[in-house]
């Protein structure tokens, strides 16, 4: 067998302990702004100096288009653009930054984003910037990544709190009597939580239950008037759902159109995704030890999910998300639960879930040419509409060439139908 060492191969730059000690700034692309406000101080506990990249301006897409293959998915292009724009912004010392990005390890292209970004950085003249892969499968070892268990649990708690604040906030904000009440409450809770975390508290199950209950009570106390509004749910590709530059300020637009919108929980997606690995093992076989570990991990994960959802269910005036195990049943007859590449069976089940809870108007966001979405979104929408004819869904594709006007025009059409339905209902 011949074997050749190729000149093109480059060893990846590790994020070392030394870099950690030197307080390299770790840049993270922002997804859900609210969640990340909690995560940042948590990571700081273990000595990580993180910064978020949000809407970095008009140069972002240009940089993305310049340095990554133009047919790659929009999130990859956008994030690479964000990263490179941040490098040149002057805000950070280019010799003392690291990049962090998630890596699913699944069959979707996102498993390779990190590598494409490395290539882009190489070409842009930053070959020495380390990239940290955030994943749960022990891919890509970095000696500088070392965290206390308590910090890990705190990060999970941050997700739970973030979801809770986001889900309840979105259901109160459109109806509040005094504009700004909801956001003020969220701000005060975030400060409280950060304070608790700094004192090493607030992340045990007991503490979480207590905090969540208090939060819920506070939300019920906000004065509001429940005028009928068009209720929209946002589903689709993970990054685009949450990222503000990713979905072209979709939330802002929906607010301007006087809608209430439901943003699905991040934890739910995590549960779906991790459980997908377990389903794959069941379907295709695998090592018994791995199987067992996954079973245990999922048991824990389902427990956390239950904690969040039960806390919301305590307040019947709010719509709680369904548990992933219940969602699985919704996917019957559509996609097999073994299909967890990208958004897999989850999107169809979510649409049916929301439609049943009064959010039958759906904006389904997806990157142009996204491979799993051909199956998980476009492939199933006809079927979903057959199952629940009330579903009024519009799927919006995002890419550097898509114009905001075009996207909003399509959403407006969906909203026009929604408004008509709403008027008929109230007649």
């Amino acid at each position: 067998m011949e074997s050749v060492t190729l000149k093109q191969y480059k060893k990846r730059v590790e994020y070392s302990l030394k870099m950690k000690r030197e307080k390299y700034t770790i840049l993270i692309p922002e997804m859900a702004p609210l969640h990340f406000r909690l995560i940042k101080p948590i990571l700081a506990r273990d000595g990580y100096n993180t910064a978020l990249m949000g809407d970095e301006g008009p140069e972002v897409l240009k940089k993305g288009l310049q340095y990554v293959h133009n047919d790659i998915c929009y999130p990859c292009l956008l994030i690479t653009g964000q990263m490179l724009t941040a490098m040149e912004s002057g805000k950070y010392d280019p010799n003392k930054v690291a990049m962090m990005i998630t890596q699913s390890g699944g069959g979707c292209r996102d498993s390779n984003y990190i590598n494409l970004m490395r290539k882009a950085f190489e070409k842009a003249g930053y070959p020495n910037v380390p990239f940290i892969s955030a994943n749960t499968w022990f891919m890509e070892y970095n000696s500088g990544v070392l965290m206390r268990f308590s910090t890990l649990f705190m990060a999970v708690a941050g997700m739970v709190y973030g979801d809770f604040l986001m889900i309840l906030g979105n259901q109160v904000r459109p109806y509040e009597n005094h504009k700004g009440d909801t956001d003020a409450l969220i701000d005060s809770w975030i400060n409280k939580l950060i304070d608790q975390f700094e004192h090493g508290r607030g992340y045990t199950r007991k503490a979480m239950r207590k905090n969540l209950h208090a939060m819920g009570e506070d939300f019920t106390k906000i004065e509001k008037t429940l005028t009928p509004k068009v209720k929209v749910a946002i589903v689709g590709e993970l990054f685009l759902k949450y990222s503000i530059p990713g979905n072209n300020h979709l939330e802002e637009f929906l607010v301007s159109q006087d809608c209430e919108y439901y943003m699905p929980s991040m934890l739910g997606f995590g549960v779906y995704k991790t459980n997908g690995a377990l389903e794959e093992l069941k379907k295709f076989g695998g090592k018994p030890l791995k199987h067992l570990t996954m079973e245990i991990a999922m048991k824990w994960y389902f427990g956390i999910e239950d904690l969040l959802i039960s806390a919301i269910e305590e307040f019947p005036e709010f719509t709680a998300p369904e548990r992933v195990r219940d969602l699985m049943k919704r996917s019957e007859g559509i996609l097999d639960i073994a299909n967890s590449m990208g958004e897999g069976w989850y999107v169809a089940a979510e649409i049916l879930e929301f439609a049943e809870h009064g959010y039958e108007n759906i904006v389904c966001v997806q990157p142009f040419g996204c491979l799993p979405c051909h199956v998980a979104v476009k492939g199933v929408l006809n079927k979903v509409r057959q199952i629940n004819p009330k579903v009024n869904a519009v799927d919006i594709e995002y890419d550097p060439g898509a114009t905001k006007v075009n996207q909003e025009n399509r959403i407006k059409l969906m909203l026009a139908v929604a408004k008509e339905n709403l008027e008929n209902e109230n007649r």
Binding site: Q8, H69, R118, K119, G379, L413
Partner: protein, 988 residues
Amino acid sequence: MRIGIDVGSTTIKCVVLDENNQIIHNSYERHFAMITEKTREVMEGLIEKFDIQEPVYLSISGSAGMGLAQNAGIPFIQEVYATKVAVANRLPETDCVIELGGEDAKILFLKGNLEVRMNGTCAGGTGAFADQMASLMNITGDDMNDLAEKSDKIYSIASRCGVFAKTDIQPLLNQGARKEDISASIFKAIVNQTITGLAQGHPIEGNIVYLGGPLTFMSYLRKSFDEALHLKGTLPQDSLLFVALGAAYYATEPVDLKEAVKVIGQKKEFSAESALDPLFKDKAEYDAFLERHSKATVVKREDFNPESGEEVFLGIDSGSTTLKLVLIDREGRICYSRYTSNGGRPIDVVVELLKEMYEKYPSLKVTRAAVTGYGEEMMKSALGIDLGIVETVAHFTAAKFFLPDVEFIIDIGGQDMKCFKIRNGAIDNIFLNEACSSGCGSFLQTFAQSLGYPIDEFAKIGLFGKSPVDLGSRCTVFMNSSVKQAQKEGVSVEDISAGLSYSVVKNALYKVIRVHTAKELGERIVVQGGTFLNDAVLRAFEKELGVNVIRPDIAGMMGAYGAALYAKDSKVSAEESASLITKEELDAFTYETKSINCNGCNNHCNLTVNTFPGGRKFIGGNKCEKPVTKKSADNSLNLYEYKIQYFKDLLGNAANKADVQSTCSSSKKTVGLPLALNMYEMFPFWHALFTNLGYEVKISGFSNRAMYIKGQGTIPSDTVCFPAKMVHGHIMQLIEEEVDYIFFPCLTFNFNEKRGENHYNCAVIAGYPEVIKVNIRDFGKSKYVCEYLGPHNPAHFEKCMYDLINKEFEPASRKEVSKAVEAAYVAYDKYMKAVANKADEIIESAREQGKKIVCLAGRPYHTDPEINHGIHKLVAELGFAVVSEDSISLKMKNLKLNLRNQWTYHARLFSAAGYITTQPDMYLVHLVSFGCGLDAITTDEVRSILESEGHLYTQIKIDEVTNLGAVKIRLRSLLAAIKQAEDAKNNQ
């Protein structure tokens, strides 16, 4: 009184209803992008006609009306919703509305719950598309309709996007296909686009209503829809006005019209956040620019006199939209030249040009002539030209004349873009635009026209635009909507023109060449092609790159000039010499064009046969040389043909041999396998498995166009890759054959060939069987089984298969299943080994015969002749032996990559590329399906593997319809590059 105004992308419509909802006034006119002015005019007309003093009920709709309505505080109704409102009022029995507009296409499903489909970000089958196609043929839309009525055959034209269609139509025109047939084919393409792109698997049935301009004006388009849908749709009265009508119905708020006119009239200063640098600061800068570029000139001889008897050489460039002709002397000075549009009739036009030339110089005797470009072969046989030369080499030859040590050449023509990097005096790397980003030059032209400017003037007004608008760098359809948006925001034509020039340049740089920095191109750059004669584009190019480049004064004729230089420097033996057509022959020149269907193989190409004086024939449209040489191609050194034959034999044997005796109760039941996607490799596996269980295995067969059409109505995603779309046709085929079972398993994982971190299939392959399950509503007599299975894990797989068989199929014992599974693995191994052995055999014989070897690398399903469009035959005809990536990847394992190597098929690609770097006589040609997301990752890595080791990388993008002309250029350029590299080596 209620008023509705519809401000569309190209027209503005107005309807006034009285108290009884009767139309008492209507208007319909083009607005030529002057949206505010026209809207104001329409409103003022209304005020005058109806003497409006009080506020009136008014609403605005239309894709260009939103911003306008917002500014003026007029109620806005989304245009599709407006259609719905109008239809509900006027035609309540309607089930489905098909509405085509200037740049939009919509389908409304009204039965049950309202469902609306609009064209997404990638769609073209609209009115603007029809206009564009008509102008390509130099006719009007009406002419096109009349011509189509007289058609007698249909060509297949890509229906996804206008740019694709254009690349299909151009060669047809050049080959001399009848305009009648092309026109009809264009309408059919629009229909196909609407059905696949919009209906997305939703059946179109019941009472259908046609609305909008194109469907109103073009009877043939309606007819084509009727035929495709097997029903008769109706064109209602006022079919142009439904959006405006809906707006009128919706108008329930009084609006002060006079005030609105005033607000709309106020011109807003547009402040562009994303404005680009102006092309020129001032006139002085422009003058300096002109001065600099005036230096790259070639001498034109005014005193040329053929009586002197000196040698002269003729070069002809028969491009996609233009014809160029250059006559030079021994010193390369130009004696005579012409540049003209080919008007869609290149032969007629070239005959005219030659006649003119002979008229000017009656005693002219051309020593040698060469032709290049799309029409090369046809011209050669029509006019008796000595030499043919591939375009890339022609352009390189010409560029060297201006800059001997040129490093980079970029040529942007009307339709195509060619760029090549020169290393060590040879063409090292070629970039041709893939079908998706083409149309650059002609796009500018079409856009200028749609804004009401001639192209020259349009470019000129852009030169001094103060803040050019950033329109992005995607395909023209996207740019169209960006331009629309800019117009809506009130950007001046000056800034749009300048912005478009930047876009063309960015497309070239970032989409086609994919540069990262200007440095990569080097410093000595020659730009050419008609599009660069446009100073705005040239300047945008220099500004974007930050480098001053050379633009020869004959930038538009470099192909022809290069051909002439080539003719000058070539030696032609007496027998090769064809002697250019003489003046007398020209006067008597006539030719005949016939179109026929080739029955040489199951491609059934549409051939166009041109018969020229002296019985010389030129055949176009062929995918192989069979109709030309009357011989079947020699397939002995073509692994793709071997694979096809292997599958055929497998089926033949199964049918003939009754040696598989089974005791199972399943005997005589049939299992149908769709020969699509991964089934291309897994077929021997499943075939053995089911045969051993006693089933008769049927296969859907190799893909063809008719099969694709059968399934297209059920395709839910119009942007998925063609191999996936093709699956629908295969399934329909099996349903028609009434097999008992259709088996199409979901394989998330492929076999683990131990090359990388994982062994996935791509997401489309993994999930597509389920897409079929939920989108095909009626499987007829067949039972569809699409379970998730994992043959990569044999023990577990056997158990799952046993469960599956007993759940979905006829009962079988564990032992029987176990035996069948074992046979399946054996059959799969046998197939893979046979392919690898055959590859070794081919490589060995190729080396004995001194042939070069091309690894045509893609996926197993690229073997399908409808998917690869016969490219493997084309490669073989050019004198290469052909092997595939799977066959040679075994020779190389454990490559270290800069990627996570986690897809089995793609891992083979990397291994194959790695192996090729060790073989001096092997070349890799990468087949990429349009829309294949994973190849966005693999192409760069494969290129980097090859190029880092000094090897050439050639990529061919294939789709539903592929222009083989462009593929040929690429392959011939590869051949030229190989030859040049060898010559260079030999000269050292």
